[in-house]
């Protein structure tokens, strides 16, 4: 056993309202500069939809992540030899069209236009060429089912469904959508790190945050290819790749990452998990449908004395162990089992987990008159989204994983209705609880964490122990005296 600490997250999709506040919090702070305009370290996608970059989930096209080769795990884009061959030409890279051509407007023309015979307007202008352009794509182009018969219909998860299920999803009585916010998953078995020819990408020992060394990066862009989530980006102005840094400077100051802090749907939870680094490879080698479970098994119990002893031995600080016991992520993923990894079949062991959304009941159309299913609450059987679609997203196709989560979410609602209104029969409440295999107390704990918690309970940033980190390189007292002096310098460009 080799316990390590990982700052991990849960996004509660039932609570997500698709507002994109998170995206802008991140944009304002990190990627609002030349060469980074098109980067959205945090983005939010409408599902069904093709996302950003377009159809990123389709690894037939992009060849990201890992695949099993017998008992071996290898990058889908190829081994080291193959990698080097692609350095100068990599056909699997997303192009600017797959992202979008960043644009702005000739805003100044409104004030500065000379007197004329018609009203001036601020034309769209390319941020790449500086010339007027037609806007044909954006980082959130299919928002709220925009262009549904082009984008939603070509969602790789939809394309996989049976024809009748596909047709269902676009009939108005079965229409549905939900949102999928995405950041870097700070994977345990990160494709980007493995793919980097320069060894510039690393996982921080103290918290597992995956970073690209801005001095070491040579801009080969293999990380862009290798990441199946397309969460590393090439900075065309600096010649370096960049990615979500999980706001480590904010976390080092004890604050939530900007996108977590700003999440107005209150869907985001953060906390440290202990996992067994020795079992990463074996976990990543399990069958598609077992990967979600395998990942749960990797996560270690922070109350278990053996785990604690091994962790101490591995150098995990005591304060971090304490934080692990307060981690909401541990509860969602391990204790309650209601949060699942996104596309575990990419085998990177992503450390961001999602609670799947509840969605409205189905209806039937009878010559223009619609009839809703008569259940009081939405149900597993009558929900608008095929369970297979969700299983394809969160469980490597294993529908049972998703069903188990839904039974639990429903049990919470039923028990709370019983407590707050009292119009349900005791037996029905007990049945829901049994089906979900949850105790009354656990249900109350899930309810509380879902609905009532303040930011201090949702976001439990472990102490980052900067004194010790600094000490590894210099005397913290000297650091204190000298910090901030000297010029800020961007990393050197490679050419």
């Amino acid at each position: 056993m080799n316990p390590r600490a990982q700052v991990s997250s849960v996004f509660h999709l039932d609570k997500c309202i698709g507002c994109h506040t998170c995206s802008i919090a991140c944009k304002n702070l990190w990627t609002d500069r030349k060469g980074a305009e098109y980067m959205w370290w945090n983005n939010v996608e409408t599902k069904p939809g093709t996302g950003y970059p377009t159809q990123w989930e389709d690894q037939q096209q992009y060849q990201g992540g890992w695949e099993k080769n017998g008992t071996q795990l290898q990058l889908k884009m190829g081994g080291r030899g193959g990698l080097l061959g692609k350095i100068f030409h990599n056909p699997r890279l997303p192009t600017m069209d797959d992202y979008y051509e960043p644009f702005t407007y000739a805003y100044g023309d409104l004030t500065n236009a000379p007197a004329g015979d018609d009203q001036p307007t601020a034309r769209p202008v390319s941020m790449v060429t500086g010339k007027p352009m037609n806007i044909e794509a954006g980082p959130n182009w299919d928002d709220d089912l925009s262009g549904s018969n082009i984008y939603a219909a070509n969602d790789p998860g939809v394309v996989r469904l049976r024809a009748e299920e596909q047709a269902q999803m676009f009939a108005i009585e079965k229409m549905v959508m939900f949102y999928l916010p995405r950041i870097c998953n700070h994977c345990l078995n990160a494709g980007c790190v493995a793919g980097c020819p320069s060894g510039a990408i690393y996982k921080r020992g103290e918290d597992g945050i995956v970073l690209i060394n801005q001095e070491q990066c040579r801009g080969w862009r293999m990380c862009v290819s290798a990441c199946p989530y397309k969460k590393t980006y090439y900075g065309w102005s600096t010649g370096k790749s960049e990615k979500c840094i999980l706001c480590f400077p904010r976390q080092e100051a004890g604050e939530a990452p900007a996108c977590f802090h700003s999440c107005v749907g209150r869907i985001r939870y953060l906390g440290v998990l202990l996992y067994d680094a020795d079992r990463i490879e074996s976990a990543a080698l399990r069958e598609d449908g077992d990967l979600a479970a395998a990942q749960r098994e990797l996560i270690l119990d922070p109350w278990d004395s053996q785990v604690l002893a091994a962790a101490r031995k591995a150098g995990v600080p005591e304060q971090v162990l304490t934080a692990a016991r307060r981690s909401p992520v541990y509860k969602f993923v391990k204790e309650w089992g209601i949060a699942l990894p996104l596309h575990p079949e990419f085998r990177t062991l992503p450390m961001l987990f999602y609670v799947p959304p509840l969605l409205p009941l189905l209806a039937q159309d009878n010559q223009g008159v619609q009839k809703q299913a008569e259940e009081f609450f939405t149900t597993l059987e009558q929900a608008r989204l095929p369970i297979e679609y969700l299983a394809g997203l969160f469980a490597g196709g294993n529908a049972e994983e998703v069903k188990a989560v839904y039974r639990k979410l429903m049990a919470v609602r039923i028990q709370r209705r019983h407590a707050s209104v009292g119009d349900l029969a005791d037996a029905d409440v007990a049945r829901a609880r049994d089906l979900a295999q949850l105790s009354k107390e656990t249900i109350d704990a899930i309810y509380r964490m879902t609905a009532l918690t303040r930011i201090q309970e949702r976001i439990v940033v472990p102490p980052m122990l900067r004194d010790q980190a600094v000490e590894a390189g210099m005397d913290p007292e000297v650091y204190k005296q000298e910090m901030g002096f000297g010029r800020r310098q961007p990393p050197k460009r490679r050419w």
Binding site: I24, Q119, T121, N149, A152, R204, P249, Q372, I455
Partner: protein, 1211 residues
């Protein structure tokens, strides 16, 4: 296999500093976003190197009671994008003046030493005037200086006062609550001048008229945390996940606490995602759904089950037990007027007996007069205005009969057939109603209860004879579940199930069912009826005035919490009263000449009425004229001459004092020697002349009929092709063959961004952004007050609104020394006001101008008041909190209290100003005004709260000060708000109770403490007892069909062809803007489609060969829009969206259909259409209040054609 790099390579990891440096900042300042958005979120603005870098939400709101989710974080994608504006090329950095006007002004100044003469030399030369008017909106701005533009504006102001009258000066700024001092600065300036402030809430069509109709309240709603208390939430016309972003989490969280969420929406909206049931009701047909729900509830829960909680609630808190007389008309009985105490021998001598209403008391078997009705409110003896069910004469306890049905058995009650209008089928149903005959002073009168009428109206037969439906499947009989299917497209089984779930949840929880409602319903022509249909379901189930219950209307609503001291400052009431407050829908309808494009014949088909008679007949402009003459609505300019000129003429004619000036004026009007300006709005002397716009986008996002604004107000280019059709129809208004174009002499816009209004104005003044000034913010979405603060000083040459108006006041004062050196007397016409005894002015409708009654100011016609303006001291008055506040006290909603001691304290403890030997509390700085407001408001000062409740106790006669006891020591300063948002205290100016962290829910004060609603009966009204409502057939909740496109006059000259398709054009509030703000922000444009697209269903798009992201041309008679299409199956066929509200300045090409001129914005496609019965007034809750009552600017009943743009877009 492990990628972990421990801290072992410090050199390797030194690069992490790159990101640390970016994150570090120098200070964090609490501020927020100050206009239109009711989010009211507290933000931390991060400043680095003296530059605003970014913002993140504050998370330190004080918690509410345990068991409620907290308010954090609040703040959405739009707010977090605000910092983009500060340094962007869209920022207005300097004062700008259009080149044409600049040249004229500089030439005029060269030849005239006096600026006022210089201005006269420009505007009195038609070709000069026309030259700069036609240049409006066409570029050519020139940078100016503050000195130059201030002088020009002051000159135009003085010129207008002298030449035409102060009421030709107009100011518009949207809902004040979000930056209340920025609003107040401009309003105070306007009111000290004698100018006109335009309303906003009704103009935006956000005022739900049903709220005044039912509750006598502008709007009062729950804070969003109270949604969590609700166990059944129905959302309609409100897309909270999209438009109430910071509040939406309460909805998502409520369902994890076992609440059922049902969303009624024609499209699969963002909020539908949170629904258990998404009911895709057809657009604008929610009313039909609720009428049928009420049918089921009344039948099952009131008739069959007689649910005790519901019946008790109706008896105590609604007008359901009050008696209505039945009047015979054309051979059948119809529901008539409310029976008053004046008609009963026993009570007729009581004070205000004609305004005290009666119930049938089961104990005595007599009609009796309970406390709390209108007459008790305004009688000499105080303390009897409460909801105790006690007789107002002898104090006996009453047991009112909800229904007279039981009396049938013992023979005292007859069943008579009463006629009920069915507007859906265009027929009249005759239904049996239990009736008693009352011996009145004018004979034997058949009466019944409101409850019995409601049962009949909704078609619940109760085994009575008549045209009652057999069962729920009676498709032709309103309002059965089967009947509604053809309108809503919703299966009858769902209606029945919904009604049962709704009512049984309410029964089990004592009223915890709520409706969240907004623009999607309120912007329809018959919105008041749709609202009443939903409100009926709430009232029937005892859900109003309960935590977790009630009607939660969220659109454009404002809750300016410290309203009492603020309104004193804003209206300059500390110096003179009354103010000139205009209802904007009427103003723009008349002045922008939109009435000229209507026909009586079409309007009457849009608004079917119960009976055509003098009340309901005629063109809408004629209704408008009547409403002004009768004192129901204000109108400015008021007369065909200057109001100060009128005083001079009166004096010349011998009037010695104000009373004689008024008498002279009345006589002039009666003799038709003086006319109301509204009777001839196109005559040049009646035009508004100068328009100040601040904090808003009056020429685009709120300008319904935008193209008519361009044509008739601005005199510049326009894309309307609509024919004028009113000439044959109008009777009360003068018709000019040629409509004026370019009524306005000067348009001044205060702005931080170059939006459409700025682009079309003559002068643009650079304002401080919301991160560059001090101000106050409150909302009804939560219960805190918090500040805007200057994180950095105003950038470039910008100044805060307060400073701008202060400087303009100073310039006006300087010019006044020459031009208006003496105080000026000015006669102000004001309508009959809600919350005053004028609620008893006109129990019946009589028109003095037709000789039906005497013209009596404040009774049968507008009130007339002579006031004195002091232009030389305008600036001094602006910066001083005047003695009028000390003398008259402050208050709101008909309640007031003295502040003499506070005023004197302020003079000792706060900054003061001195002039002409007087000393006054200072309003020189916005922060001074903020501290003054916080010190005088019951919501922020516990002692004042206690005092206000003490005043309320005297009126009501019940104990209330205990509500303020625990918080009596609370005081709040601006500095306190910097540290943390503060929770508002319970105050009698509002109807919710917030003690001990309880969530605010409207009308809890009324229900729990028996304080009456401010209505005729003091209770909630099912029945609207007004002659005009009876004539319109809206006295009971009813259904009126959605107007047919053929009568709407959107497409008279615009022809369709096979390349185009006609759709119902909707402009719901969107995801990427708050009105037009943020919609031009690069962040929002990047995350959406880079434009404000046209949403269309995929099948509709296919019919005209349009694919996603194609350019389309959207058009009708009013104007044209060119944008890109979003094709989505999320929308049903037959409707189209352009989310409110684009700018026509961002990426808008030209229109081939309109001669290749620049295409317009969303408001280019509509025209204001006013509903006449909302102009009624002079009685009970139907008396005027600014932003409280009046017709609204409805815009949803609009049809457009759309086709693919031909060729490439041209720029």
């Amino acid at each position: 296999m492990s990628w972990i790099k421990d801290i072992l390579g410090p050199k390797f990891r030194a690069q992490e500093e790159f990101y640390r440096n970016r994150n570090q900042c120098d200070k964090v300042v609490r501020s927020t976003h100050g206009v239109n958005c009711t989010g009211g979120c507290s933000w931390n603005v991060h400043v680095k190197d003296g530059i605003v870098g970014w913002e993140l939400q504050a998370t330190d709101y004080p918690p509410l009671e345990p068991g409620l989710p907290p308010y954090e974080p609040r703040g959405c994608q739009r707010g977090i994008a605000f910092s983009w504006y500060l340094y962007s090329p869209l920022r207005v950095k300097y004062p700008y003046l259009r080149g044409v006007l600049s040249d004229l002004w500089r030439q005029a100044k060269a030849t005239h030493t006096d600026p006022v003469s210089a201005w006269a030399s420009i505007v009195e030369q038609p070709q000069h005037r026309k030259s700069y008017q036609q240049a409006r909106g066409k570029g050519g701005f020139r940078r100016s200086s503050w000195d130059e533009v201030e002088e020009l504006i002051a000159a135009a102001t003085i010129y207008t006062i002298k030449k035409y009258g102060a009421d030709r000066l107009t100011g518009f700024s949207p809902i004040p609550a979000m930056s209340m001092l920025s609003f107040a600065g401009g309003a105070r300036f306007m009111q000290l001048l004698g100018g006109v402030n335009l309303s906003f809430y009704d103009w935006y069509c956000d005022l739900p008229n049903a709220s005044p109709e039912v509750w006598g309240e502008q709007t009062d709603v729950a804070e969003s945390a109270d949604w969590y208390n609700s166990k059944y939430i129905a959302l309609m016309g409100s897309n909270v996940n999209m438009t109430r972003t910071p509040d939406a989490h309460f909805l998502g969280e409520a369902r994890h606490d076992g609440s059922k969420v049902t969303v009624l929406s024609p499209d699969f909206s963002m909020t539908s995602k949170h629904a258990d049931w998404w009911i895709p009701v057809h657009a604008g047909q929610d009313g039909a759904f609720w009428m049928a729900v009420n049918h089921v509830i009344l039948n099952e829960f009131h008739h069959q089950q007689k649910t005790p909680y519901f019946l008790d609630y109706l008896t105590r808190y609604s007008d359901a037990p009050f008696l209505i007389d039945l009047t015979e008309k054309d051979g059948s009985l119809r529901p008539g007027r409310m029976v008053t105490a004046a008609s009963l021998e026993r009570y007729k001598a009581e004070e205000n007996a004609p305004f005290k209403y009666v119930v049938w008391d089961e104990t005595s078997g007599q009609p009796r007069m309970p406390l709390g009705t209108l007459g008790f409110r305004w009688q000499t003896k105080k303390g009897e205005w409460n909801l105790q069910m006690i007789d107002g004469q002898d104090g006996s306890v009453l047991a009112p009969a909800l229904s007279l049905l039981d009396g049938i058995a013992d023979g005292h009650v007859e069943v008579l057939q009463v006629a009920f209008d069915d507007f859906s089928g265009g027929q009249v149903a005759r239904r049996g109603v239990p009736v008693r005959y009352l011996e009145t002073v004018s004979g034997r009168v058949p009466v019944t209860t409101v409850f019995d009428l409601a049962m009949a109206q909704f078609g619940v037969g109760r085994n009575l004879a008549g045209d009652y439906p057999q069962d729920y499947n009676a498709e032709q009989s309103p309002y059965t579940p089967a009947w509604q299917e053809k309108y809503t497209g919703v299966d009858r089984a769902n209606v029945i199930q919904f009604a049962r779930e709704w009512a049984s949840t309410a029964e089990k929880t004592a009223g915890k069912c709520s409706i969240i409602i907004g623009a999607g319903v309120n912007h329809w022509y018959h919105a008041n009826l749709i609202y009443r249909a939903g409100i009926t379901a709430l009232m029937l189930c005892g859900c109003v005035g309960k935590n977790g219950g009630g009607l939660n209307h969220y659109v454009g609503q404002e809750k300016l919490a410290p309203v009492a001291p603020w309104s004193t400052i804003m209206g300059a009431l500390d110096w003179s009263r009354p103010p000139r407050f205009q209802n904007t829908p009427s103003f723009h309808y008349v002045h922008s000449d939109q009435w000229r494009y209507e026909r009586t014949a079409d309007e009457s088909r849009i608004n079917p009425v119960a009976e055509r008679n003098a009340i309901t007949a005629g063109h809408t402009i004629d209704h408008q004229v009547r409403a002004v003459r009768n004192g129901w609505l204000p109108f400015y300019p008021q007369f065909d001459r200057s109001p100060s000129e009128a005083v001079k003429q009166a004096e010349a004619a011998g009037a010695a004092d104000a009373q004689q000036v008024v008498a002279w004026t009345v006589k002039q009007l009666a003799d038709k020697k003086m006319k109301f300006a509204v009777e001839d709005p196109d005559a040049p002397e009646n035009w508004p002349r100068v328009w100040f716009i601040w904090r808003g986008n009056a020429l685009m996002s709120s300008a319904k009929g935008h193209e008519y604004f361009l044509k008739h107000y601005l005199g510049t280019h326009t894309n309307t092709v609509a024919p004028e059709t009113a000439e044959e129809s109008v009777k009360e208004v003068a018709w000019h063959t040629q409509a004026p174009e370019g009524k306005l002499d000067l348009v001044v816009d205060l702005n931080f961004r170059m939006d459409t209004s700025a682009l079309y104005s003559d002068i643009v003044l650079p304002t401080a952004t919301w991160y560059e000034k001090d101000d106050l913010n409150s909302t009804d979405m939560h219960s805190f007050i918090h500040p805007l603060q200057a994180a950095v000083p105003p950038c470039w040459e910008s100044r805060s609104d307060w400073e701008i108006f202060k400087a303009l006041a100073k310039k006006v004062s300087q010019l006044a020394e020459v031009h208006l050196p003496q105080p000026v007397r000015d006669i102000v016409a004001v309508p009959l006001q809600h919350d005053t005894p004028a609620e008893m002015a006109q129990p019946t409708m009589k028109d003095w101008s037709k000789g039906e009654c005497e013209p009596i100011p404040g009774k049968t016609m507008p009130g007339l008041v002579v006031v004195e303006r002091d232009y030389v001291n305008l600036y001094n008055r602006f910066v001083s909190f005047g003695p009028g506040a000390r003398q008259n006290g402050i208050g709101a909603h008909g309640l007031s209290w003295s502040i003499e001691d506070c005023y004197d304290d302020l003079k000792r403890t706060s900054p003061t100003v001195e002039w002409n030997g007087g000393q006054y509390p200072s309003l020189a700085e916005a922060k001074d005004a903020a501290n003054l407001i916080l010190a005088l408001a019951p919501e922020t000062n516990g002692e004042i709260a206690w005092r206000a409740f003490e005043a309320e106790e005297k009126k009501v006669g019940l104990r209330l000060t205990d509500l303020a006891q625990d918080t009596r020591a609370v005081r709040t300063t601006f500095a306190d708000l910097d540290r943390q948002p503060r929770r508002l205290l319970t105050s009698p100016c509002w109807s919710g109770l917030t003690n001990n962290g309880r969530a605010y829910s409207a009308y809890c004060l009324n229900v729990e403490r028996l304080v009456p609603w401010r209505t005729l009966t003091g209770r909630q009204h099912f029945y609207l007892d007004h002659e005009g409502y009876i004539a319109a057939g809206e006295q009971l909740p009813t259904y009126k069909p959605k107007p047919d496109p053929n009568v709407l006059q959107d497409l008279i000259v615009t022809a369709s062809d096979e390349k185009s398709i006609m759709l119902n054009y909707l402009t719901p509030h969107g995801k990427w803007g708050i009105h037009s703000t943020y919609g031009d922000n690069l962040r929002m444009l990047t995350l959406s489609r880079g434009c404000h697209p046209f949403w269309i269903n995929d099948r509709d798009a296919a019919r005209i060969g349009v694919v996603d992201n194609d350019w389309v041309e959207v058009f009708n008679d009013h104007g044209v829009v060119v944008t890109r299409a979003v094709v989505s199956a999320r929308l049903p066929a037959g409707i189209a969206f352009i989310y409110h509200s684009p700018e026509r300045t961002i990426g808008v090409p030209k229109s081939p259909l309109r001669g290749n001129k620049r295409a317009g914005g969303h408001n280019s496609l509509n025209r204001i259409r006013l509903k006449p019965n909302l102009m009624l007034g002079g009685y009970g809750q139907f008396t005027y209040g600014w932003n409280y009552w009046g017709p609204t600017g409805t815009n949803r009943d609009t049809y457009i054609l759309v086709r693919k743009l031909q060729g490439e877009p041209r720029w």
